[in-house]
């Protein structure tokens, strides 16, 4: 009898669990994947010919704060090829993704109000890209924008964050030629940062950026530009703490990557020394970089030792003039390449100093290696930084000349 009672109560209990349980159950198909988020000023990022009535419909009545931001979301369409056999031209429902937007100040509130425009709950766990327009960053810092994204548990560490000089929404509506949804496409571009010296992709995602903000360090965020169907990650936005300062050109990014040792592969080009008009390119395979602080007579300076090993990647020189088997010529090229790397590093160094942005975390280096001196310098660091010299020594080794002789 007691056993039956026990069994009964056990089954009742488990039934209770089954009924009341499943608090966190989310069926994937009942959620809409948010793949990218775009942040504009409230009166920017409109659809072409969008009237004020549409803008009013998109938003909600707000007791607090103002209509400061426009949040646009790119949402994955789960049934993209439902009518593929019909042979019709692409209707709206056939697209891989669609965009909805809302205006307001609190991002959390906007995302909830956006549910009024979508038939399923929004799901942020696979958010790939956040695009912030330059106009927004001129008004506020990064921290207020990042805050919600960092607090929400569904966010990933590796969300890619871009700054666009134009408006963010058109980028979300852009249909990549590969057929991928835009958010995945943009995030995918940044994966190439190991091979492309112009992409500042190392440690520029949401997690690392917020980590840097926590550490009072300066950060970079890649710049994404849309010009008449051409999309390119083009340069980098530099931030002093969370304040937008300006853009870096590609050459400065290259130099920063050399200093920070975040390159995996690189291309260095020089004018051909013997043949005017020709050009030589060096392809980097392996490098060893060391940036160290030194203090001499109270003067702070940094040394950068780089040794690069790689191949001749390209030599645009006249026919039958190949001198790759000539060690002297190779030596000459090596010196020139080294000079070029040094120039680029120094260019980046000076640019960053002029912008008052420290992407090299020099303060942390000083604290790590010269702890006692750092304690004295700490308060004056902001004044000292623009004057700190960098001593660069580069050593290039050309290991091979490629397959063609």
């Amino acid at each position: 009898m007691s056993k039956i009672n026990l069994l009964l109560s056990c089954s009742l209990f488990s039934l209770c669990l089954l009924i009341s349980g499943c608090w966190d159950r989310i069926e994937m198909e009942e959620r809409h994947f948010v793949l990218a988020a775009g942040i504009d000023l409230a009166d920017e990022g409109l659809k072409p010919n969008q009237g004020p009535d549409v803008t009013r419909t998109e938003t909600f009545v707000q007791p607090h704060g103002g209509k400061r931001y426009r949040l646009s979301l790119q949402i994955l369409n789960l049934k993209p090829d439902g009518g593929g056999d019909d042979g019709d031209s692409k209707k709206d429902g056939d697209k891989k993704s669609y965009v909805i937007s809302n205006t307001g100040q609190s991002f959390l509130e906007m995302t909830r109000d956006l549910l009024g425009q979508d038939n399923k709950d929004l799901w942020w766990e696979h958010l790939q890209t956040i695009i912030i327009s330059e106009a927004v960053l001129k008004e506020t810092g990064l921290k207020p924008i990042f805050d919600w994204f960092l607090r929400d548990h569904e966010m990933r560490w590796r969300v890619r964050v871009f700054v666009t000089p134009g408006e963010a929404r058109p980028l979300l509506e852009y249909q990549p030629p590969s057929g991928d949804p835009g958010g995945i496409f943009f995030a995918g571009i940044m994966q190439n940062h190991r091979k492309d010296m112009h992409l500042a992709g190392m440690r520029t995602d949401l997690g690392w950026a917020s980590q840097a903000l926590d550490n009072d360090a300066d950060i970079f965020l890649p710049r994404l530009e849309l010009k008449d169907k051409v999309v390119k990650v083009n340069g980098t936005a530099a931030f002093n703490k969370d304040k937008f300062v300006g853009y870096l050109d590609d050459y400065a990014i290259k130099g920063t990557k050399f200093i920070n040792a975040t390159e995996k592969s690189a291309v260095v080009t020089i004018d051909s020394p013997d043949y005017p008009g020709g050009i030589c390119a060096f392809e980097l395979f392996r490098h060893d970089t060391r940036l160290r602080p030194h203090i001499k007579d109270g003067q702070v300076y940094f040394t950068l030792d780089i040794s690069l090993i790689g191949n001749m990647g390209e030599m645009q020189e006249p026919v039958n003039s190949d001198k790759t088997s000539d060690p002297k010529y190779i030596r000459k090229l090596e010196v020139l390449f080294a000079e070029e790397v040094k120039d680029s590093a120094l260019y980046a160094w000076r640019t960053m100093q002029a912008m008052h942005v420290d992407p090299f975390h020099l303060n942390a280096k000083l604290e790590a290696y010269e702890t006692e001196a750092w304690e004295k310098l700490k308060d004056k660091w902001d004044e000292i930084y623009p004057t700190v010299p960098l001593v660069v020594s580069v050593n290039v080794t050309i290991r091979g000349s490629g397959e063609h002789k």
Binding site: S14, L17, L18, G21, C22, D24, R25, I26, E27, M28, E29, R31, F33, L35, L76, L78, K79, W123, E125, H126, Q128, E154, R156, I184
Partner: protein, 553 residues
Amino acid sequence: MKKNNAKNFCKLSKVQPTATHSAAKQQLTKLTELIAQSSHVGKEIEQVVASFRQVAAPDNEPFALSSVLSENIPLIRTAFEDCDDVKFRFFTGKGREALLVYLDGMTDITLLEKNVLEILMGSKNTANTQQSIPIDPSSLEKDLITSASMTTMTNASETLDAVLTGNALLIIDGINKGFSIGSKSHVKRAIEEAKTEAVAQGAHDGFNETLSDNIVLIRRRARDTNMKIRILQLGERSKTSIALVYIANLVKPGLLEEIERRIELISTDIIIVSQTVQEFLCEHPWTPFPLLQRTERPDVVTAAIYEGRVGILVDTTPMALIAPCTYNSTMQSIDDYSAAPVTASFIRLLRHFAAFISIFMPGIYIAVVSYHPGMLPTSLAISIAELRARTPFPAFLEVLLMLVVLEIFQEAIIRTPSKIVTAASVVGGFVIGTTIVQAGISNPLLVVVMAVTAITSFSMNYSLGLAFRTLRLPIILLSSILGLYGVMLGALAILIHMCSLMSFGESYIGGLFDITLLEDWKDALVRLPIKFSKARPKQYGSQDHMRQGDKNG
């Protein structure tokens, strides 16, 4: 007394050939009188004794055998009333009434004819036809009956048992004993390949349903006088034979006594399958895990008894039991020893991995798909979501549905007559597998998940596979409430349960990860080459630890 008389009679004709005819006649008449009297007295005494016996028949005996055949006949007939397959053969052998009782179909009749009837009834040309047969049971056994197996029985129940096991019962007038004449011969399956434990490279003989054959299969594998086989009877009504097989100088001290003690405690009327015995013997009847190892293979039993364990063979079932049993010993296959050690180790690890999959895969699927889809890479998450967007059910119901279909399908395949199996698998595999997806009831990924789950549970010992199949459901429930956390809690609960199980005083997980049994690890999760495992597994506590060099055995 009668014997003396007979001797005197014989001697008289030989010792006094020259005596006068009259004197002889006189003497003879005296003698015949004496004989008549004494036989009369003898008969009376016998009857008195028989009647005494009758009264004194013990409680557990149906009746007592009397020396008068005519009295025994109705008793035996009553015992076998309505048993039309019991045959009675009356005959007169050497001048005495005799009766042969046997079971039709379970007895070799030609053997009986040769060894009993021909000899007792005698050919007509024998000189002393009138001579009554010697009624001394020992001389009957010694001089007359030529059967190899013959026992004298005084208990009535024994005689009945003898008939029911297939031996012939011989009762002779004037002897209050029955003789069982070994002539068992019944239909049986030939030695075939083990059905549930096929191997690739091992021996291919498996047990059949006959105990004696099964014992032979084990005996043949070791010429060892220390291999002891003790046969017990079990089941009040079925009286099934059970053989305990062990190596006298290896078996763990106390183990055999414990098994015997538990067997004695068994009270049931009939034993049909060895599982009945197993359930009586093991400590935890509520666990899904098999706490005694079941095998159809004589080589497995032989290997086990040489590890100090005890094999239990049950008549009428091909499944032998081995005690004690550990999770690991059930997971091993004889193929592990016929493959190269490296390969075998790899396969063993794979089997444990399969065990894990077969319990947890559906649960993990539910947990990942409906609780932590963030753990999937975006591209995979999108493709799963697209697949799942076409099906109406939440993941939990979907899995439950597929699980039920799968289990029913497995059950159906086992029960189906072999000629329809192909049809059934076509229906199950192709039709259900593909149409369930096309009809939008389940998504293809889940079909893959369930198929993998099913396959993995086939890759190990059948009864263990069953246990794992049983455990799937609670894991699915847990994962549908608490996601991966629930799966982990379930895994811990299973771990605790398995660690708490005991099989004849041995831990069910055995020396698995037990640091004091480090030597056993050589042949546990992996198998090291044989030359490294010189010792018997310590976990079974065999008397002699070393495999090689135990000359004094």
